[in-house]
């Protein structure tokens, strides 16, 4: 078991290196720091001096990969690749274009993101599993048919509509909760109730439809027929056998998503004015702050890889049929 975990972790390292190289190529090779500087300073009427100054302030004035002017190991370390990309491995993100520390921002903004993402995630799973079990119980009836129709219809609605419509209906028309904003502490509840509800409704169609497939696949198997044949009640079959086995594919997807909860949600956070990592990323994209986008790409990838790792491990833990090789 331990050997398996170690091997999986080792396997994650080259992928992380690959991600780092991809971001490096995207941000520094396709466009030079000069291009970035010109873009930030306003494309026209920029003096070379201003560009040099901009680059020097942010440490972009070094060579990309090899510094011939420096001595010894500094030849490799006094380069953009080392200072901007390799340091990401130590989760040292440097400063944003406005001079603030990205690492500090991430540490403070992580919690509001989590406060929105975690309840939405847990409530989502509970609701989708319950709804999927219900339609699976009533399979091949009108309830099942219309349930699937509802799911397909809900999948076809844009996520933007759920947010804009929800804000209009609940906040503006009924005045139940504030339209946007955030406060830490117990007050957060009234700000988070609507975004959490919208997140659950928005993912309903896709979630229920997927989980229903998992359950129905299990229901077609021989052991379920055996359970029915020996006279078990339908609810015993459903909760005792189908739910447990159908939960295995659900679990893999769910566990893989856990680390990414820290990243928050791009759309919900920016619409509801929640100061999390999602709105941080959107602001950075709109301000074309390459340092922040680069940091978020790396952080997001690292968390995704961690998610895959956890998913594999949980799979082996839950399903005794899976052997670690």
């Amino acid at each position: 078991m331990l050997a398996y975990i170690v091997r999986r972790i080792l396997y994650a390292i080259p992928i992380l290196v690959g991600v780092n190289l991809v971001t490096f190529a995207l941000f520094f090779v396709v466009n030079t720091p000069d291009d970035m500087a010109r873009m930030q300073l306003g494309a026209k009427r920029v003096t070379p001096d201003a560009i040099e100054k901009w680059k020097a302030e942010r440490g972009y004035d070094r060579p990309l990969l090899w510094n011939g002017d420096a001595e010894g190991a500094a030849r490799l370390t006094k380069t953009i690749f080392f200072e901007k990309s390799a340091r990401l491995f130590a989760f040292d993100f440097g400063n944003a274009d406005d001079g603030r520390s990205i690492g500090h921002e991430i540490r403070t903004r992580m919690w509001p993101s989590l406060a929105l993402a975690l309840p939405a995630f847990l409530a989502g799973i509970a609701v989708y599993v319950a709804a999927a079990l219900t339609v699976a119980f009533f399979r091949a009836t009108y309830l099942d048919f219309w349930g699937v129709v509802l799911c397909v219809a809900m999948m076809s609605i844009s996520a933007l509509f759920y947010i804009i419509g929800g804000q209009y209906l609940v906040s503006k028309l009924w005045s139940l909760v504030p339209i946007s904003g955030f406060q830490p502490g117990p007050d957060a509840l009234k700000f988070l109730a609507l975004p959490v509800a919208i997140a659950v409704v928005g993912g309903f169609g896709e979630g229920v439809r997927l989980y229903r497939t998992f359950f129905l696949e299990e229901m077609g198997k021989d052991y379920v027929r055996t359970a029915r044949a020996k006279g078990l009640a339908e609810h015993a079959v459903l909760f005792g056998h189908v739910l447990k086995n159908g939960a295995i594919p659900i679990l893999t997807g769910v566990v893989a998503a856990i680390p990414k909860l820290f990243l928050g949600s791009l759309l919900a956070e920016s619409f509801f004015g929640i100061p999390g990592l999602g709105s941080y990323t959107i602001d950075a994209i709109q301000a074309q702050d390459f340092a922040v986008v680069r940091a978020m790409v790396f952080l997001g990838s690292a968390l995704t890889i961690l998610g895959y790792l956890l998913a594999d491990l949980s799979y082996t833990l839950v399903d005794p049929r899976v052997r670690f090789q």
Binding site: L26, A140, V152, A153, S156, S158, L160, T281, V293, S301
Partner: protein, 476 residues
């Protein structure tokens, strides 16, 4: 003078490929069989009719030209305008040109907010002014409701008549082909017992006609969906958005397919280190959260476009180039899922006897892949193609909202929503732009989803022809 924007080339190339595929399938029974299963699905056929309507609008909007201006230059050659228009623009000319000053509600005759006007005797007043075009033909505004009702009813009558004629003609043509009486054919259609689900097709066509014809009749006199902040007709904007959505949904898959097919089959066929390398590449790309990778790539592209303004003579070409690049970026970031599916299927196929036999006969690798593997994984490719479409249409709106989507000057559902999202806060609220964008998008995506489901059911080899076991059938 005709102008072909880069995406026009791609769109028409796609049409040629699709036509070629259709002709090829018709001549091969084993390829036509799954499609015949698709035509038996009522929901699938209804969705196809709706999609066809959208595609028609999109294709009309993909024939571009520069209008000829009056007069000639010194050499006697005709002079062409710099603005690029499409055939759709020419067809709905009144919608494009009859702009109001600012917001107006659907079917309104007066402006949405008070405007300051100078009174003839000096002094100013603020009042709701008559619109320049919306309902301008009415002498008496109180007749508006009656006029709208009469126009709409005329539209409904025309739609019903036209549909009736078309339905009778279709039934007659079918009856001739099957060699039975028209009445018998009609009752077969009515009961939904025909091989192709003609009942669903005709009913959907009727519903479409009942919406489209009255709207068209009203659009000649009013702004059916109102006007936006700068007075553009929202119906026109919605129609223009269709092309953008279709281009993103289809061209992205055009970019994605060659990469996914090549790498997926290579990984599954050659195994060994080639498999390791390809798996490594797609795991890496897969690890980067999609939106962030797209955002990063689009930001980089934006820098490139800004640095090279000389490449694009007109604003339309620059916007179109950005649309094309967006498709390329979306394609380059989303081939991994299909590649993984193809790798798995190829691994499975490689163990089968007929592939082993081909190897034993000394058939070359390239030939084994093109003759034996590729045709047998095509159903996966096709299913992925139709399944991806709806997701891409939805993604466009989100990306445009985030600011990494299409060029702000390109009309799309995303830019419409983005421009209109602050209007919800106005008092009284301006709801029609958002509503129009969401309704058009919903209909398009719903049709795409239903069609995708029908295609998947038709092509899934697990679905037995005719009989469907309850458990296996319900599992989808």
């Amino acid at each position: 003078m005709p102008v072909a924007l880069p995406t026009d080339w791609a769109v028409w190339l796609l049409v040629v490929v699709a036509t070629g595929y259709f002709a090829y399938v018709r001549r091969h029974e084993h390829l036509a069989a799954p499609w015949r299963r698709v035509t038996r699905s009522g929901a699938g056929m209804a969705a196809l009719v709706v999609l066809a309507a959208f595609v028609t609008v999109g294709l009309l909007d993909s024939l571009h030209f520069r209008p000829r201006l009056d007069g000639r230059d010194q050499a006697g050659r005709p002079v062409y305008g710099t603005e690029v228009r499409s055939v759709l623009d020419a067809l709905v000319l009144p919608l494009r040109t009859r702009n109001e000053r600012t917001y107006s509600a659907p079917l309104a005759t007066r402006s949405f907010s008070r405007e300051t006007i100078e009174l003839p005797g000096g002094g100013v007043a603020r009042e709701f002014q008559r619109l320049r075009y919306g309902g301008a033909h009415l002498e008496d505004e109180t007749a508006r409701a009656a006029d709208i009702a009469v126009t709409a009813l005329q539209g409904v009558a025309v739609a019903f008549l036209g549909w009736w004629l078309a339905a009778i003609l279709a039934a007659a043509a079918l009856a001739r082909r099957h060699g039975i009486a028209v009445g018998a054919m009609w009752s077969e259609i009515q009961r939904g017992r025909t091989e192709v689900q003609w009942r669903a097709i005709l009913l959907t066509a009727l519903a479409l006609a009942l919406v489209a014809v009255p709207v068209a009749a009203l659009a000649a006199k009013y702004h059916v969906l109102g006007t936006d902040k700068v007075g553009q007709d929202v119906l026109y904007l919605s129609l223009k958005s269709i092309r953008t959505a279709l281009v993103i949904g289809t061209l992205t898959t055009l970019v994605l397919l060659p990469i996914a097919i090549l790498l997926g089959i290579m990984a599954g066929y050659f195994k060994g280190w080639i498999d390791d390398v390809i798996q490594y590449v797609y795991t890496t790309i897969n690890s980067i959260p999609g939106v962030l990778l797209i955002a990063a790539a689009v930001l980089i592209m934006q820098v490139y476009i800004d640095q090279n303004p000389g490449l694009f003579p007109t604003a339309a070409q620059r916007a179109d180039f950005r649309l094309l690049l967006l498709c390329v970026i979306l394609g380059l970031t989303s081939w991994t899922g299909l590649a993984r599916l193809l790798r798995g299927e190829t691994l499975k196929l490689g163990e089968l006897e007929y592939i082993q036999a081909a190897h034993a006969f000394g058939v070359r690798h390239g030939r084994v892949i093109t003759r034996h593997i590729l045709p047998n994984v095509m159903h996966i490719v096709l299913i992925a193609l139709v399944m991806d479409f709806s997701g891409l249409v939805l993604a466009e709106a989100v990306l445009s909202y985030v600011g990494v989507g299409v060029d702000p000057s390109t009309t799309s559902f995303g830019t419409m929503i983005n421009a209109a999202r602050l209007e919800m806060a106005r008092e009284p609220m301006v709801w029609w732009t958002l509503a129009a964008a969401f309704v058009f998008m919903f209909v398009l995506v719903l049709a795409a989803n239903l069609f995708a489901d029908a295609v998947r059911d038709g092509f899934d080899p697990r679905v037995a022809v005719g009989a469907r076991p309850v458990a296996a059938g319900a599992a989808r």
